[in-house]
Amino acid sequence: MRPDAVPHASGETGYYGLPLLKKPVWTWEVPLYFFVGGAAGAASIIAATAEWTDADVTLVRDAEWIAAAGGAVSAALLTADLGRPERFLNMLRVFKPQSAMSVGSWTLTAFSSTSSASAFAAAMDRRLGGSAPVRLVHDVAAPAAALLGTVMSTYTGVLVGATAIPVWNRNVRLLPAHFGASGLASAVAILEWLGHEDAALQRLGIAAAAIETATGAIIELRGRDTTEAMAPLREGVSGALTRTGGILSGPVPLICRALGERHRSFRRVAGLSALAGALITRLAWIAAGRASAADPAVSLALPAVERQPSNADTCRS
């Protein structure tokens, strides 16, 4: 074959290297929702567990308010991202277990209801100086919110994992634990910045940072043998964001918390780093999804060696 003067279509380059898949249409609201929803879900677990183990009452109260506020903000963010926000309630027309978006919408609705019911009932109970019916509402809503909170913190990994986007579906087993751990780290950080110094928070912070460090290591190591699919996590803007987010949510808080056993201020730094890391990581995964969709190499099963530079830039807007 003669050298190509003009672009050609072939089994090596695909159709002129044009993308096969459509890019995710989600803008900043969705990664921010992943961040807020993850923290809120973890906060409700902390609230229920702390109450059940008779931990400090102010810690329980603050964790409940974080969960309630996070649930409300999450609903606002998810609605704002819709192309037709006035139709959010159409999410509740049907329940489809095979759609993570449907499961998530129902979970968010139930979570924001139970977490705010729990927080408001607890506040009313304190104001009334003890009221059996109000306490009953709280005692039912708090564990329900905690159970739904586990879904809130993890389902977003299912949501992006079970898609046609290669970099997302190749990491489908990693994402729920990744998002769950950084959600937990975020809730711990917010509680510490509200002045709570319970040793349990430090332990949870260490555990979350350890899981995030392991996640970062897995992403780096797996990228070596499955370069094509994992490239967006290593190259370009999305790669830089992934690594920055990974370092801020894994090794940095882990080291700071180790030092924090003696110096309290290090725990605060660890929390701040974990919060920034959790947010940047979620932005990174969305950016990686966009980069992955633009590259036909994996979705079209093109041979890696002879692949031409992508013509994605010439694609109409």
Binding site: Y15, P19, L20, T53, Q98, A162, T163, N169, A199, S317
Partner: protein, 268 residues
């Protein structure tokens, strides 16, 4: 109701784009702008929210002798692409509102009065067909001319095609015709002709069959499309394990330190 399908035969397509125009006119699909791609005669470049039929201009260098090609010439193939109307459709599975439904003709249809523009179908399609229209907010794709089919008519693109490259009919009949046509092409020396109908994958076959020449990937047709629901088992297993870990870990963290912390006061 008969289960219907398209059979798009690229060996008969002359690249006139009448199907694109007929689709736009009948369905009142908005303009998708004017841009020069520099890629053969294809300035549309792909299916999308405002392109439901798309004629691909596939310039390939083929091996000498295949289908009468002289090895130093470019083979110029045309193929009209369309939503595949998958047997197991990623967009339909992903849709949280129930806006995307399967019609009585077997096609996949987006109900525009229900769609709330969540965008999850966009990342659910393994063929990159459906997309959200930015100025409208809802997702759009080929309707399989549901309105025309209800009225007993064939889709606008098939009606407009001057060479019968786009055939519309009952799916089993078209599958048989596709096989016959490929056998005929092989007999005439076009031995790289093949049917694209991924029935062996998780998509389970499509309601838009294609006759193509050579490598399907040159037509941006994936050899192994996967419906994303195949990842759900792994995803929810990982989520359940994480959920159990979150509860167990939090319990351990609080219960473990409870005795030591008792009576300790906190800043407000």
């Amino acid at each position: 109701m008969p289960t219907t399908a398209f059979l798009t035969d690229s060996t008969l397509c002359i690249g006139c784009k009448a199907c694109e125009v007929a689709c736009k006119e009948w369905n009142q699909v908005p303009s998708d702008g004017f841009a020069w791609s520099g890629l053969s005669y294809d300035n549309t470049t792909g299916l999308g929210h405002s392109t439901w039929r798309h004629v691909k201009f596939v310039e390939m260098t083929t091996a000498f002798g295949v289908g009468g090609n002289s090895g130093d010439q470019v083979s110029w193939g045309f193929s009209s692409d369309v939503c595949k109307h998958c047997e197991v459709a990623g967009c339909l599975e992903a849709c949280p509102t129930g806006s995307i439904v399967r019609t009585e003709f077997g096609g996949v249809f987006v109900q525009p009065d229900v769609c709330n523009g969540c965008g999850y179908c966009v990342v659910g399609c393994p063929f990159g067909v459906i997309d959200r229209r930015p100025d409208d907010g809802r997702a759009f794709k080929c309707t399989f001319c549901y309105d025309r089919q209800r009225a007993g008519m064939q889709p606008a693109c098939a009606a407009a095609c001057p060479t019968e490259s786009i055939l519309f009919g009952e799916i089993d009949d078209l599958r048989k015709r596709a096989g016959d046509r490929v056998a005929e092409l092989h007999a005439r020396g076009l031995d790289d002709a093949a049917v694209y109908d991924p029935r062996e994958t998780s998509v389970g076959g499509t309601h838009a069959l294609f006759i193509i020449r050579g490598d399907a990937r040159a037509y941006n047709l994936p050899p192994n499309p996967e419906v994303p629901t195949v990842y759900l088992r792994d995803a929810w297993t990982a989520a359940a394990a994480t959920a159990a870990m979150l509860i167990a870990g939090t319990l351990a963290a609080f219960a473990g330190g409870r005795r030591r912390l008792e009576g300790r006061s906190h800043e407000a």
